[in-house]
Amino acid sequence: MSFEILDTRELNSENTWMKIKAPLIAERCKAGQFIIIRSNEKGERIPLTIANWDKKEGSVEVVFQKVGASTQELGTYKKGDFLLDVVGPLGIPTHTKGAGNTIVIGGGLGIAIATPVARAYKEAGNKVHVIIGARTKELLFNVEILESFADGLTICTDDGSFGIKGFVTQPLQEMIDKGEKIDTVFCVGPPIMMKFISKITEKHGIHTVASLNTIMLDGTGMCGACRVTIGNEIKFVCVDGPDFDAHLVDWDEMMARTQAYREEEKIALEHYHKCRAEKALEEQNSKEKK
């Protein structure tokens, strides 16, 4: 059983979009859930939150950042190629019912996940304002899609090349200061961003949900690699999440755990580039022989 890649596109210099044939997943998935991909026999199991899906076509879409060896390799897969393993939908869907006035915040790659979640909040009858942020204009995406259904959209860039110059916390703080009625905040993106959002909303007692992206292996509660401290309890992101009450998350612990393999990632990347270079050389040699 393998899974055909129906299409891929470079959204920008950092983020790659991929559409995969996976009817079983498309049939069941809901906003906030994720899948795990293993591209080939030697590959890692990579958890990726579902960015979109099409039941009719039997497809799911993901967006990933080519940062490590595994994601760089995934980035070399093109339309018509096959992925060895895709499993999902995993995790509990985002709870959108009765959320009220909702602010959905997506930072960086998190924009990809914020999009279907914002739509789900909207479809559940809530008023939805979306805030997205990226380092620079070039790294923004999904703007038109979000404009098409959100009740409001605020865009921030760190360098000010588009929208507000600053972090996503800035417009959030302004909305709170203006006294706007906010019932729920949903955030997804770099953990440090979510931590700061949670600090702001906690002061004002605003219910805040964070979608966590931790290290995972099986995704079914078997390994415990994804465990986090929520309040006084240990929870598994794969089966108890990925959404948690942001005010209860032990952010420092979670950030430390996601960095656990920093050194190994470097080794893997070096090895990957070495292999790629050797392979390219071999191909060139065999061409010359012909």
Binding site: G43, V86, L217, A268
Partner: protein, 488 residues
Amino acid sequence: MGSDAKKSSGRKPLVRTRLPMATQRPEDRINNFDEVPYGYNEAEAVLESQRCLQCRNAPCVKGCPVEVPIPQFIKLVQQGKFVEAAEIIKTKNSLPAITGRVCPQELQCEARCVMGKRYQPVSIGNLERFVADYAREHGEKLPELPEPTGKKVAVVGAGPAGLSCAGDLALLGHDVTVFEALHAPGGVLIYGIPEFRLPKDIVKYETSYLKKIGVKIIPNFIIGKNKTVKELLNEFDAVFIGTGAGSPRLLNIPGVNLVNVYSANEYLTRVNLLKGYLFPEYKTPVKKGKTVITIGAGNVAMDSARTAKRLGAENSIIVYRRSKKECPARVEEVHHAEEEGIDFRFLTNPIRIIGDEKGRVKALECLRYKLGEPDETGRAKPIPIEGSEHIIECDVVIIAIGNNPNPIIPQTTPDLETSKWGTIITNSKTGETSLQRVYAGGDIATGAATVIAAMGAGKIAAKSIHKQLMGHEIDEEEHNLEVGKCDS
């Protein structure tokens, strides 16, 4: 001639000690992941088989959770009929190459061997392993399959329970589909038990054998997510649940979420299922660590500590609050671990994991214990010694203190009755659950136990399912599943 002739044609003189299997030398094997014992050769197998007294009442069989016809298969070994010996085992046990390696024989069949009363018991496990390997290497015939019954059975989980249930049902002519959440079948055989104890090629062979007899295995398919048990009941005549005890128990001590604190499940899955020992060629990393401490003393703890040694740990330490006598691991595993230089700290229990400024493990604080009166499990109760706090520096900690049942099926099957521990409640003599046409067995029903007990439960359920499918009444099966209870 008379009596002399009788003597020479009779049994050989009694050999009191069993023939050990040749093994890789400890100093070699701590540098590789190859299997530790080489297994018997043909001559050794025949020699050991001749120690069997062929007892009529076969007490050994009563010690086997799946009632392998032990004297019969050993007799065939005595006659050099190895393939036939394997065939007769397979009438009761569909995975002999696996059980020959991972069963706690010293608590089961071998514990009841008459030879063992005065001398050493016959090495039943080693013989089982030998004939299964021989048959695999020399090509075994596929059993003749009956006419298809047209009945469909879904099996949830491709671990020992599910695979044995699936195999038995296929041999009875039913159409069996196994759904597996991971990308490869085998369950704990593939993600948990290391290569050096159970080579993965053997697991692959055994699962491909099941495919040859018609079992369909679908990986990457999570019952409870992609389909519910209720939905399966619309498509299938019966459902067997064998989803195992796959939820790691963690210690309730400070520091359990520090970086480089692993559950044994995570550590072993990285190394076994995802081949982390071949990193970076295989992309899944695993922390190697200079000093690795494993907490617990079951087979999973031995597997973890020995894996750490092979990954290059200078010190691989096992911390256990009771003494060596109480270790729940197979005797052979403890012995192998000792040979490999695993540092056992018995009567020691952790109270705190200490981290550095980056949130990574740097030490384990422990208390020393002494043994008191027997507790409710019959084992001496460990009592902490006041003021015995001490710190062991380390950079990786592995928690191997057991597993809870996997929660996905109970959570997504509303009418399925479960216990307060999260296990599915079954009639252990039939495998029936509170839901009609739904059966369960193995660790999901009993809590963490052995591979062979799970296989036995799969077989019992297969019998009940067969009866249900053929319109017979389901009656209770007496069984030996409780024999030699310990962790896998």
